[in-house]
């Protein structure tokens, strides 16, 4: 026998709309959070790729021994924390670089600068500016080339993207709040007559509120699950389908699933924050609407 049915219907059209609204909100927010993380990682990745390799040029100056200068620079680099490797390139490498400018013929008569390739440790990069001064002080004709211009340009672009995706997240959140608020009100409006009967039959306000909260909690739970799953599926598809083209998106999407130690907690938290926020908004709205409704009943 069907007994102890729920105080409020489980499967009414307005409730389904609320679930849809919350699920869509969660889905879009997960996308936005994911995009922010992706962009952040892509930027780190790009700028690391640029920053891990430095070049030091040592010019051949008339009154100095260039080989000694190179050795001195190498010594400075070896002592610098964060430098993984430093290697003097053979003269041929320098000549290759200059050839298009000057032509191969004239080169052997010329004082050609020597190049030192420096590999930097990703995790603990040295202070580039300090290193630059240190090298210049030790060996005046040496110059550190850190691809700065490149990096600045990319960082500017990435900053723009980052701002944009935060903005989009904020706008999604705002519109989602508007929508969830409206859908929650519709759910309560649809259940107004039930609230009234319960009230007149002697239910405490708390009793009614708890019964409604239960509906909203389970709606929020399912919506969060759907939205979260949808978002994860999209990123997974991005990661796996995009494999053929090495266009950066796929790589970055895949990297979402590679969670380095420590960072995992935050990533998970930021994803879970989305359905939690949806549920809290729905609960608050329903509570406020319910209280207004009840206070209009003597």
């Amino acid at each position: 026998m069907s007994m102890q049915g729920p105080m409020f219907p489980k499967d009414a059209a307005p409730l389904r709309t609320l679930v849809a609204a919350m699920a869509v909100m969660c889905f879009l927010a997960v996308l936005a959070v994911g995009a922010i993380i992706l962009i952040d990682r892509a930027v780190t990745h790009w700028s690391r790729g640029l920053a891990t390799e430095l070049t030091v040029q040592v010019r051949e100056v008339s009154n100095r021994d260039v080989e000694q200068d190179v050795a001195a620079v190498l010594a400075v680099l070896k002592e610098t924390a964060g430098v993984r490797e430093a290697e003097a390139l053979p003269r041929a490498a320098s000549e290759e670089l200059l050839a298009p400018w000057i032509g191969a013929e004239g080169l052997d008569k010329l004082p050609v600068p020597r190049l030192i390739r420096v590999l930097i440790d990703d995790k603990t990069p040295p202070d580039i500016a300090a290193l630059e001064q240190q090298i210049a002080a030790a060996v005046p004709p040496a110059r550190l080339d850190s691809h700065r211009r490149w990096e600045a340009e990319l960082r500017r672009m990435a900053g723009t993207l980052s701002i944009l995706s935060w903005l989009v997240l904020a706008l999604i959140a705002l519109s989602a709040i508007a929508m969830v608020v409206s859908a929650s009100r519709a759910v309560l409006a649809a259940n107004q007559s039930i609230v009234e009967v319960l009230h007149l039959v002697g239910a405490e306000d708390r009793f009614i509120a708890r019964a409604i909260d239960r509906r909203f909690l389970s709606a929020g739970f399912y919506a969060g699950l759907i939205g979260l799953a949808g978002g994860v599926v999209v990123f997974a598809l991005l990661g796996f389908l995009g494999g053929a083209e090495a266009n950066g998106v796929a790589e970055a999407a895949r990297s979402l699933f590679y969670i380095p130690r420590g960072e995992g907690r935050y990533l998970l938290l930021s994803f879970l924050a989305v359905p939690l926020a949806a549920i809290i908004i729905a609960l608050l709205t329903s509570r406020m609407t319910l209280m207004r409704m009840l206070s209009s009943m003597p």
């Binding site: 102890q4 009230h199 003597p298």
Partner: protein
């Protein structure tokens, strides 16, 4: 028990629906309330079960002036009142059993403690085969009987019924009134709004007559 003192009621800025209504009921009284359509019977009952505040006058229920009660004390008062709405107000998403059991559930009682009582009462009003059914498939009279069962299940101190027999045949109507009378014998104060003159005469109980919002004895 129940004392209504010089009450006036108007909805919004409309005309006065009730004017200078004064009457009282002692514990254990059984009264009818009658009058032409639109006289204000339902409105008066709404005031008594605290669904509406009067524009004027005072209502005393169970010895206390309702106005002096805190909002948090009202649910306890309401649980001592049994209601039959003119339009039933069954919850469509709950079975007949759950609808009838509603006042007990709201009062925090456990299923095991009331299960048999509810089934017995449902049987008594002739809805035994419909206990599991949802109200939207009930006939008019069946709905009305479910509404009556809900009103009496908690053995309230005061029973307010708004045309509880308008949708049932005369035989059944008499049977239902006997239910009210039995409850009354156990101490419940009963006030029934009705149009059915023959039924009221058969019961031989005092009748309050409303006309255009004014009470004439």
């Amino acid at each position: 028990m129940l004392r209504v003192d010089n009450i006036g009621l108007r909805y919004g800025s409309g005309p006065e629906v009730l004017k200078h209504v004064t009457f009282h009921m002692k514990a254990g009284d059984f009264m009818f309330l009658t009058g032409p359509s639109g006289a204000g019977k339902s409105s008066l009952l709404r005031l008594l079960f605290l669904a509406q505040r009067p524009s004027k006058g005072t209502i005393k229920l169970f010895g206390t002036n309702v106005e002096h009660l805190d909002r948090s004390e009202l649910p306890r008062v309401r649980r001592r009142i049994g209601l039959v709405f003119q339009d039933f107000r069954l919850l469509d998403h709950l079975s007949v059993f759950d609808n009838v059991a509603l006042p007990l559930r709201v009062a925090g009682e456990r299923l095991s403690s009331y299960r048999q009582n509810v089934l017995d009462l449902i049987d008594w009003v002739g809805l035994a085969p419909k206990a599991e059914v949802f109200p939207d498939t009930l006939s008019g009279g069946e709905k009305q009987r479910a509404a009556i069962a809900r009103a009496v299940i908690a053995k309230p101190d005061l029973l307010l019924a708004d045309e509880p027999t308008g949708n049932v045949d005369p035989v059944l109507a008499r049977r239902l009134l006997h239910l009210f009378a039995a409850l009354n014998q156990q101490g419940t104060t009963v006030l029934i709004a009705s149009h059915d003159e023959s039924l009221m005469q058969a019961m031989q109980k005092p009748i309050l007559r409303l006309q255009d919002g004014v009470l004439r004895r």
